[in-house]
Amino acid sequence: MVWAWLIPVISFAVVPLIILFGKRLPGKGSPLAILAILAGFAIFWVVFAGFLSAGPETEGCDIGVGTKVLTCNFQITWFEAGIPGADTSGFDRIEIAWGITIDPLTVSMLGLATFVALMVQIYSLGYMHGDPRMDWYYAFHALFIASMLTLVLADNFLLLYVAWELVGLCSYLLIGFWHERPEPREAAKKAFIVTRIGDVGLLVGILLLWSHVGSFSMSETFAAVAGGELSDGVVTASALLLFLGAMGKSAQFPFHVWLPDAMEGPTPVSALIHAATMVAAGVYLVARAFPIFSASDTAMLVVATVGLITALGAATIALVATDLKRILAYSTISHLGLMMLSLGAAGYTAAIFHLLAHGFAKALLFLGAGSVMHSTEELDVRKMGGLRKVMPVTAILFSIGALSLGGIPILAGFWSKDEILIAVNNHLNPVFIVLTLLTAFLSALYMARAMFIVFYGRFAEQFEHVHDAPPTMSITMGLLAVFAVLFGLVALNWPGAFDGIGYFIIYEKGHGLEFVIWLAAVSTVLAIGAFIYGYLAYARKSVNLEGARRKFAWPLKVAEGKYYVDELYQWTIDRVVMSLSRFVAWVDRALVNDVGINGPGDVTRGLGEKLKYHVTGYVYSYVLVMALGLVGLAIFWWLVSR
């Protein structure tokens, strides 16, 4: 199990190799990245098996303080600083460890991340074929996934923060991968800056915790929180600050604006970002720091509320968006909101379960969208139709993903969504459950819309000569589809083998599969109803949408305008931020640069120019200076010793 550290390290190791030698390697180094993640995936299974067979008596393993589940920690000292010999629990000395922690949450994330990354990288072989910068693409990919794996393995907040920032950097690099065009550049900047705002919150939160606990270690921090060593105010404040980081990364309202624009990156990158790396990091952080969140009712309510607003708002935008990838993007935002909502409703298991189920389905959908885009070079759903005629494999696989995500029974998405509904129903105000059900309905509806418009209905003639995806692309999509269909089965109790995910990914206590019959019935009716309506409206076109459009013209316009959040931000930046910036720039130019920097700089350089003449080139002057120095030294010594 201790070898888990190798999973990210192998991928890290190939990054410089690909950068340095990629041009000369076969496939521009892409096999190297794929082999690295394949090795990671293989090691994941070893770690998984080791973890399943481990118990509290296994070396390095223990029952976690806050989480009450089996947690294994392995660490080596990275560096120490401060006064040697002092107590590390105080502030005189800190010891920073490279440490990994392995618990059910980590294992699940490792599995999801390595599997999706492996699929995406193989898929990219076909998708990025012939790109002149394929080596850089794969180097960034390897770095991206290595950072994410480090993030989920980290046993202290400092290492987590380092990985967190690396994930942000890699998403910037990959979103802006085609930086020759202006849109990807802008999108990359937007993603970086918006998530940056959240990152500051995360950093402050980590430092706040450190200043009260005296350690970056997660287990020590959680123990301190559980032991009541921190005041309620500190717990709430740090939870909210951590959540700020999670909101940025997981694209929660009002930080959601970067994710739809991030579609400018290559589509496989979107799949990775949406399913396994970037946005999953925020949900992971809240789940990882759940002992802190669950200690504060305020924080939990904030998480749930932000989650619900995000889920509902994004679902409505997804319903009216016309760009296939943007529909999927808003769908991701909506589902991330559902996960946050679930965490806020103490539905820890449900949130992680949904993260996994959604990850498989969403990766599948994006790869499907990538396949469509790859062959049609078109993303506007209004121009598409009946594509199943020319790309049947993609059509079937995409439909499976859509049905799974829409929550059609026995597919993976159904089980996880049901768990979320139960958690919300049990722990929150009735308003929440009504709105959550509405979100669930909308999410089935927009998936139905995307699927039926693009692949069914009347065939769009201009795509006559379009071909289906090459094998590298369709095989990976097929594998993901298997998971999107069958993954829900892990929720069930398998007598003798596995008690269900409710006893594996748990917080404080496990529980079997809960099944509230009326909720399941309502959500099933809503989902199936949505798909039937979608079929009638978008494939058969037997529902007159124009009437509805006219009737709801005003709310439609608002939703199509994405609630004008972007415009509001732009206005704020133009009016408030820019005028402040101009003032700061003036201070910087006039005072800081001209006086503060150039002044001492000129003096220093001048000193250097003057001083250099003390070395004359004549040996006798050297010896003279030595002699004078010697005499001076002796006199000085004599003075000191008196």
């Binding site: 340095l20 080596i76 000292t77 990275w78 560096f79 600083a81 006064i83 040697p84 010999g85 490279w98 700089g601 220093t604 350089r605 000193l607 250097g608 120019e609 001083l611 250099k612 003390h614 070395v615 080139g617 040996v619 002057s621 050297y622 010896v623 200076v625 030595m626 004078l628 120095g629 010697l630 001076g632 030294l633 002796a634 000085f636 010594w637 004599w638 000191v640 010793s641």
Partner: protein, 532 residues
Amino acid sequence: MSTENLTANLYLLTPEFVLAGFALLVFVLDLFMPDERKDLLGWLSVLGLIGIAILSIAMLVGVDESLYNGLLAVDEYALFFKVFFIGIGVFIILSSIDYVRQHLNHPGEFYGLLLFSILGMNLMAMSRELLTAYISLELLSFSLYVMVAYALGSPRSNEASLKYIIVGSVSSAILLYGISMVYSTLGVTRFGDISEELKAATDVSPALWAGLALIVAGLGFKLAAVPFHMWAPDVYEGAPLPVTAYLAIASKAAAFALVIRLLAEAFVPVADRWDQWQIILVVLAALSMLVGNLVALAQRNLKRLMAYSSVGHVGYILAGVAVLSTDSLLGANGVIFYLVGYSVTSMVVFAALIAFFNATGQEEIADLAGLADRQPFLAMAIAIGLFSLSGLPIFVGFTMKFYLFTAVANEGFLWVAGLAILTSLISLYYYLQVIRQMYIQPALAASNEGDDHGSHVDAEDEAGGSGDNEDDHTHTPAHHDPASDYVALPRPSAALIAVVFLGLVATVGLGVYPAPLLELVESASAAVMQGG
């Protein structure tokens, strides 16, 4: 003290005997080796050194003994430095094989001398008696005098060697005079005995201060600490490039190995005298930091730049030496770790510069213009090396400065630590000037290349008849097509690439994860600070 004591554990010196015999063997083989196969001697020396390092480790781990009635120590500290010096030797030889073939006349002797100087350095790390230390030092110095003069045809090399010998002899005389004055006042020369005498003495004659000042001045010359540094730029500039690297890295580290043991065994234990020492050392350190880094700002030649920058680094290390203490290993750890980090990083820079010189025959900062286009790997190596030297993370330069400055600040010398950080900032400026040349300035037209230093022929040999280089004579800048305004440099030899690459790996590796090396360093510093 019976005579048995003198020879009973003589076998502990096996690595030194083997090294001496091996050096002689190289000299002898040189006589029979045909000229075109002299490279083999370099490779042989590398193999021999690696063998000796393995032998030393196998024999001496955990040994803590004294030889010849307390003249030489065989302990973890000596072993650490032995392996360290041998490692430097290996890298220096690997990076100089091409240079030696192209520019120097007597390759066999070059390698033999190098081996003898390593022997001298090993003995310096082992000596615990003033005269033994002096003789070891001279063994190193004399090898270096010859090596500096090695480019027989080059007047600058000869001038440098002459200056080095003259100033070196003066400093030797000063050192010897100091030793004799210490002996005349205290009556002993072994480090341990000196500390005993000082502890017992109630009142010591002023001649002792004079003697100590003389010793400090003599060793200060070896370290090139201000005000005994003035030879360094001239000698560094004139010496053949691999020898410059060797001077900057190895001879400096060896002098510090000697100084640390001298201070740790003779003076640190005497608390009230050590306070005075600290002030002296801190002042020397501050002077070195200031002068070295300020004057480096005004340099145009790469070797001179490295010389002044190394004076600055000596300042930092001296500040660390000033906070050696019997209570805490922090200072000793910091100093030794700094020595290793500095050597590794300098090795990267020098090896890359040697590769650059082999290809072009140039060594001015301005000549590096456009190197990022002409030979990106070398440019990257130099850039990383310089970033590391200036103390930026994630490189070892940051880690080593962090540890050393922490130790200095922890001992109460906050102003020195502050000055060290400030001068590191200054150093970033002149390092960045070099990096700017490589990455931002466009490459100079190829036509003036290689004419300056009489090595044009060699540069062409190295190019292996690539068409570009032969055009050098006919092209004038006006005829150049702007798109192909620069000439890609020929690839450096595999040995050089290996040295640069390993150095880079170490520079980043030790910067990110220093813990294993720190454990070794700690065992070495524990041996010298608390043992013996």
